[in-house]
């Protein structure tokens, strides 16, 4: 067992555990924290895969912005009371079976994907910011710009929806 | 070119009628009907050295799929076009005595329907034919829906809707059939379809795609269930359109679009169809005997008659074809006359229930006379038009199968039974409260009946000329059908 494999297994374990706990925690705040843990594990995977830049961006965006928003919303709504009712037992069992079956199918099917050859070398320059920037702003320039329209639309929308109307409802 | 004008005149007048406003709508509509009739008369195909020359025009219309605006007028088409163009102004004329609200819409729908009907009879392109087939359906749906007689709105809506769904369902399968044919030939043109050679399995499946559509329209047992209700619920003008002309669409289509196109399919299923048709004949007649509602009785009688025509067509003999054509024409006149009479009764007495009527002859002798003539024509008294038709039809069926013809022949007896019983109950006997104040025919109604009766006897006494028109087309169709 090389160090890398151990790291991989550890990170995977953490990711899966945190992922499961995200789903199963009763308290939404705990879910958020587990999810952040999961994100850290995934960032660790990115580092293993030599995508340092992405790892950091992942942390900034997901842990630093998105999850803060979640937490923020949860706090505003004050949902710490663990008052969530469970779905009907049948629905829950159904959900577990459905997801489990999906997983089984995926894993079983993808297990057959052993035809993928192992590449002999790995270009460590791929994940550097220079290289990513080059690809992003040459080949993917247009999607990059397009994403800005997307973000703008989301921004307008979020303001539109979340802002309270000041005029009295007629 | 004239054929195109004939076709589009009703459409033009439909627009004019709609624009002319409620007050003048009926006159404009009548003018339109008359103009179309005149155009039709002018259109009369010509004989060149004893041979009838079909008129054919074709303009490219849709490039994908290849659809041409192709019209063709041969003898068979001409007969039906003539029937249509004659009956539409007649039917418009029958409505003059009645206040109709939103008259402009009513009359323009009638003319629109005429447009569709003419299109069906004239189209020489499968797709065009299909479009006209559907186009004819929509106006009659609205006529029946909006101006229907019965006060029970829900019931009426359901009945009319049943009719619509039935016909539409049938026609959609026909569309599928056409699509399939188009995939095989790459063309919708009638000549291409006539010369198509499909395998027997294909033909036998396609047969049903087409036959169901036609059978519903005709209607053939067991596709007839929409008919009596619809006839009863529709306004009389609508019923006349339905029974007088629209039925003929189905019969005409059998001759024009089914038999020659899918001869093997037809061969395969003929026994079944004839049996169904004969069942329809007997069934319709028997039920008719027991009817109390005049319009429903007429509807079942009509059902019985068209059953016989269908049987005649599917006998695939010369006589059967001839009889079918004659009877189509004759039935158009007769049934319209009957429904007109029913309409008059309804307007004067406010009821169609046979049991409530009686003794009208005592107060309205003129009406009693013309009604008698029409009733006799419809029971196929010799010298009337229907006699020739029924005779030829029975002969055709006889050639196919003796026993069937015997059973079908019962229709004459049963027809006489229920028609005369009806006449007796309605017209003869003692006058009662409902019929006491029955006004006799006015001059307009008399004129209309006179026109009708002339038509009845004209065909009954001199069928020869009629045959000369129709025969070449029938021979052609027969050739293709017996391929």
């Amino acid at each position: 067992m090389s160090l890398t494999l151990i790291a991989f297994l550890f990170l995977s374990l953490v990711a899966v555990f945190c992922g499961l706990m995200t789903v199963l925690s009763k308290n939404p705040i705990h879910s958020v924290i587990y999810l952040i843990g999961c994100f850290f594990a995934i960032a660790g995977h990115y580092l293993l895969l030599n995508a340092q830049f992405l790892a950091v961006v992942h942390i900034i965006v997901y842990a630093g912005a998105i999850m803060v928003l979640f937490l923020f919303t949860l706090m505003l709504m004050n949902l710490n009371k663990e008052s969530e009712k469970h779905k009907a037992a049948i629905a829950r069992i159904g959900a577990v079976i459905a997801a489990g079956a999906m997983m089984l199918v995926l894993v079983a099917v993808l297990k057959r994907a052993d035809s993928l050859a192992i590449p002999s070398t790995q270009n460590i320059a791929i994940g550097t910011i220079e290289n990513l920037g080059r690809v992003l702003l040459n080949e993917y320039l247009f999607p990059f710009e397009f994403a800005s329209v997307l973000l703008l639309s989301a921004m307008i929308g979020a303001v539109l929806l979340a802002k309270k109307d000041h005029q009295k409802a007629a | 070119m004239l054929v195109v004008i004939t076709l589009f005149l009703p459409l033009l007048f439909a627009l004019l009628t709609f624009l002319s406003g409620n007050r003048y709508a009926k006159y404009v509509a009548l003018a339109g009907g008359a103009a179309t009739f005149i155009a039709c008369v002018l259109l009369k195909p010509i004989f060149v050295s004893g041979q009838l020359q079909p008129i054919a025009v074709s303009y490219p219309w849709i490039a994908n799929p290849v659809v041409n605006f192709a019209l063709s007028l041969d003898g068979l088409s001409f007969v039906l076009v003539a029937l249509t163009t004659f009956l539409v102004p007649f039917i418009i004329g029958t409505t003059f005595g009645k206040e109709i609200d939103n008259a402009k819409a009513f009359y323009s729908l009638i003319l629109l329907m005429e447009f569709g009907l003419l299109g069906v009879f004239l189209a020489a392109d499968g797709f065009l034919y299909y479009i006209f087939w559907e186009l004819a359906l929509i106006p009659i749906y609205f006529i029946a829906l909006i101006w229907g007689e019965n006060k029970d709105r829900e019931f009426r809506n359901r009945a009319i809707f049943k009719f619509f769904i039935y016909t539409l369902a049938g026609s959609l399968f026909m569309l599928l059939g056409f699509i399939y044919l188009y995939q095989s030939t790459g063309s919708f043109s009638i000549s291409a379809l006539y010369n198509l050679n499909l395998s027997d399995t294909e033909q036998s499946v396609l047969f049903w795609a087409f036959f169901v559509a036609f059978a519903i329209k005709i209607p053939v047992f067991p596709f007839h269930t929409w008919q009596p209700e619809t006839y009863k619920e529709a306004p009389s003008a609508g019923t006349m359109l339905l029974s007088g002309i629209m039925l003929k669409m189905g019969l005409y289509s059998l001759l024009r679009w089914l038999l020659p196109v899918l001869p093997h399919g037809v061969m395969l299923w003929t026994p079944l169809v004839i049996v169904l048709a004969v069942i329809g004949v007997i069934y319709g007649s028997v039920i008719a005997v027991k009817q109390d509602n005049l319009k429903k009785l007429l509807a079942y009688s009509s059902f019985a008659h068209v059953g016989l025509i269908t049987a005649g067509i599917f006998a695939l003999t010369r006589e059967g074809f001839q009889g079918a054509t004659v009877q189509m024409f004759a039935h158009g006149f007769n049934v319209v006359g009957l429904f007109f009479a029913a309409e008059i009764i309804l307007q004067r007495t406010g009821t169609l229930s046979i049991s409530q009527l009686g003794g009208i002859r005592n107060v309205a002798p003129k009406f009693a006379t013309v009604f008698m003539v029409v009733v006799l024509a419809s029971v196929a008294l010799p010298t009337t038009n229907a006699f020739i038709g029924e005779f030829l039809l029975l002969f055709g069926v006889y050639e196919y199968n003796t026993w069937l013809s015997v059973i079908a022949g019962l229709t004459i007896i049963l027809g006489a039974v229920y028609m005369l019983r009806m006449y007796q109950l309605v017209m003869l006997g003692e006058t009662n409260d409902t019929t006491a104040g029955f006004r006799d025919l006015n001059s307009r109604e008399l004129l209309l009946f006179a026109l009708l009766i002339i038509g009845i006897f004209q065909l009954g006494l001199a069928p020869k000329m009629f045959m000369t028109y129709v025969q070449p087309s029938l021979d052609l169709i027969l050739n293709y059908s017996l391929r």
Partner: protein
């Protein structure tokens, strides 16, 4: 540099992300709290991102990692909008339980 996939086969990455993805699906089906459903969706997206990066390294192709940026941008936008919708609902009914949202069922 020697490829990491000599030590950790690419299949492992496919598995781990498939498992995470399914956990996300489980969350969507299992929970009633819409915020948690929402988080489960984020988990699904992250599973995908992980796989994208793995494939990107595997193919020595940077476009996979670039795609991850787009996914992140989209996720951020989705979160903004989704939470805004959540807040509007919460203002009206004071719950985020999706099974309570039944006014549209006939």
């Amino acid at each position: 540099m020697e490829s990491i996939f000599n030590i950790v086969p690419i299949q492992y990455y496919i598995f781990i992300s498939a498992v995470l993805f399914c956990i996300g699906i489980l969350g969507v089906l299992f929970r009633r709290n819409s915020i948690i459903i929402f988080m489960s969706i984020e988990l699904m997206l992250n599973a995908v991102n992980l796989l994208l990066v793995a494939f990107s390294t595997y193919h020595n192709d940077a476009s996979g990692q670039v795609f991850v940026f787009f996914v992140m941008a989209v996720a951020a936008a989705e979160v903004a909008v989704g939470l805004a919708i959540l807040v509007t609902i919460f203002r009206n009914v004071h719950t985020v339980d999706i099974d309570e949202l039944k006014s549209l069922k006939n």
